[in-house]
Amino acid sequence: MSEMKDMIVDVVERMFKEKVEKETVDLLEAGKWGEDVWQLLLENEIEKVAIKEEQGGAGGDYEDLFHLYRLVGKYAVPIPFIEHTLANLILENSNIQPRSELSTIHIAAKPLDIMEGKATGSLKHVPWARYAEKLVTLGAEQGKESLILIDLKDATIENHTNLAAEPRDHIKFTDANILVSYPLTEQQREFFAKLQTVVTVSKMVGAIDRAFELAVQFSKEREQFGRPIHRFQLVQQHLAILAGEQALSAAALENIIALLVEGDVNDEVAFARLKLDDASRIVATSAHQVHAAIGVTHEHRLHHYTRRLWAWRDEDFHEKYWKKELANKWIHSTNTLWEELTKKKHVEHS
């Protein structure tokens, strides 16, 4: 575990608390973004957290980064921090020098066609493409997949958004130059899918943290029938359900981070992602029910979190993807479910 973790996470949380107002998040609706917050992170070199020092980074680790992603979810920060840092993390993992210019990533997609070193094809819902300079994505030449870095100057970009008004642009390349390419093994492709999924889980847990917090706070402040609504048992039931889902989600995240740090992560990422799908639904439902009418207005900030949960659950490597992966694996397994769940980690290596 990185000793810097608590410090970095605290510092960044303070920045977000101070700088990310409701109006900041709403910038997205007006086609703008949180440039000031992004600048502040750059000035403090927070975007370099998980990059090794010899690569010009700050030398933190996965754990730091995922806790920062959770904060991005918790404050609905309207900047491409996650995309930029994940792009760099994956470049670094592919022996490619991380980029300092704003980069984004889209790997849960059909690879671009590569012919004689040029890329052609279109990608839908690419996060933050309109603001980024570089894109990390997949390319395929005669069935062989590579991770490629490509310049977004060479793309035609059509602005688009997800349910939460976050930039998710449609882009198109025709014979575009490939800046760097790295041939991917099946194992690496799987690892990157897991990494991307842990990222999604991190920000979803953050949004759940906040939706839960808002519901508890609101139930204390709002009075009806002459008393705060948390005094009603049916409201308490919602709070208890929210607390349960928040605790399960947070524990899922902490467990996959711990396994990832040990380099021993397996089906757990899929399990966490499937759990977060349910948790998102349950949390959004109960948080809105506690807030009642005010929570469904644009004026209230609850939708910053619930809309993100609804958007994120259908992005990247989603529930359907992981269900299929698990089923395909189990159908050939001679282990019982209990043996799968309690597979030995240490004994096999000795």
Binding site: V216, Q236, G244, W330, L337
Partner: protein, 380 residues
């Protein structure tokens, strides 16, 4: 509250393997038959004796009483293996889970020296006397009373829903040792009552399957000697609450219907039913998430931390999950549930379906737990 993550050590994995191999061999020998909810419905003193011979009752207790002084994570593993294979562990269950820890915390040296070695040897089973005919969720309203006499107490009253009293030798009984006043939590004490004492009558309450797991226990002028008071007189409520975290967060709040899920997955594999496996993966993901939380609580408990809220969380969500398994499985496979079915799947489905309503009631109803959780959340 942030719970720790637990990675099993190599020694712990070997221990799991040791337990599993033993249980599989016993299953093959016919020492027991896999059952869902076996920690309530599977009382077999002979099997408990066998477990005791392995040194697996009182696993975490001090060596001076005959225990193995192993970690609570080891005990967690042991318990998981019992439940996953549906072994009949109900006879020694309550003594191992609750009475031992209670006595170690509040018991006198004499009590510890007398009871703990017997429990560990599988010769002494306990029941827990809490609910009464008119005190269920409102537990502090108990009316069973103990009146002081020379050298002890005279107990009159009745307990109900007492699991496994028919096989138990003693009962830790929550009684009123002072008259009921305004604050009903006060004046309660825990007495160990020998169930063979004169004046004790045990009558079965048949579960909706027709089986005998619960009992009514009546006390008619039962004499209980002074040395059978546990802890401090009048402190019974607080002492009893301390037990509840152990009772609510364990794997038995997640795994009661696991044999059904395990068998359903095997059947889906035999049928090469990829769509069914994909749907079942949601249950597996839920189970994985609950296990993380439950093991995290076990770790905090071992370190002496306060976990009443997360323990209530584990129980409220975990028992709902236990109930969900039969409801999902019956739609994934062709089934015909029956308690006496030849096919394991149908039998497990019957056991799970019929036992399911009890999961969210026993050990604190979900409604009571929601109240505890909400209170904790609002205070935090």
């Amino acid at each position: 509250m942030k719970l720790p993550t637990v990675q099993f050590t190599k020694e712990q994995e070997l221990f799991r393997q040791e337990v599993r191999t033993f249980l599989q061999e016993e299953l093959q020998k016919g020492s027991f038959q896999t059952k869902c909810d076996s920690w309530l419905s599977g009382s077999d003193p002979g099997f408990s004796k066998l477990i005791a011979e392995q040194g697996w009752i009182g696993l975490t207790w001090p060596k001076e009483y005959g225990g193995a002084e192993r970690s609570s994570i080891d005990r967690y593993i042991l318990t998981e293996e019992f439940l996953a294979i549906g072994a009949p562990v109900a006879a020694h269950w309550f003594a191992d889970r609750q009475t031992g820890p209670l006595l170690m915390r509040f018991g006198t040296e004499v009590q510890k020296n007398f009871f703990l070695p017997k429990i560990i040897k599988g010769e002494c089973f306990f029941a827990i006397g809490l609910s009464e005919p008119n005190s269920g969720s409102d537990l502090a309203s108990v009316r069973t009373k103990a009146e002081k006499v020379e050298g002890g107490w005279i107990v009159n009253g009745a307990k109900t829903w007492t699991s496994n009293a028919q096989d138990a030798h003693y009962m830790v009984t929550l009684v009123r040792t002072e008259p009921l006043k305004e604050k009903k939590h006060q004046g309660l004490s825990q007495l160990i009552i020998n169930l063979e004492s004169e004046g004790v009558t045990i009558t079965p309450i048949h579960y909706l399957t027709g089986e005998h797991h619960f009992n009514d226990v009546f006390f008619d002028n039962v004499f209980v000697p002074d040395e059978m008071v546990v802890g401090t007189l009048g402190n019974g409520w607080t002492q009893g609450l301390a037990e509840l975290a152990f009772e609510r967060s364990g794997p038995e709040r997640i795994l009661s219907t696991f044999p059904l899920l395990n068998e359903a997955m095997e059947e889906l594999k035999r049928q090469q039913n990829i769509e069914g496996l994909a749907q079942a993966s949601k249950l597996v993901a839920e189970l994985w998430s609950l296990r993380n939380l439950s093991i995290g609580v076990a770790k905090v408990l071992e370190e002496g931390g306060e976990v009443s809220v997360p323990a209530a969380l584990v129980k409220s969500v975990g028992t709902k999950f236990e109930q969900k398994i039969p409801e999902v499985v019956r739609l994934l496979l062709d089934v015909y549930p029956h308690l006496k079915a030849d096919r394991a799947l149908d039998r497990f489905l019957a056991e799970s379906t019929l036992h399911a309503p009890g999961f969210t009631i026993r050990g604190g109803t979900s409604e009571v737990l929601y109240g505890i959780i909400a209170k904790g959340v609002l205070a935090g």
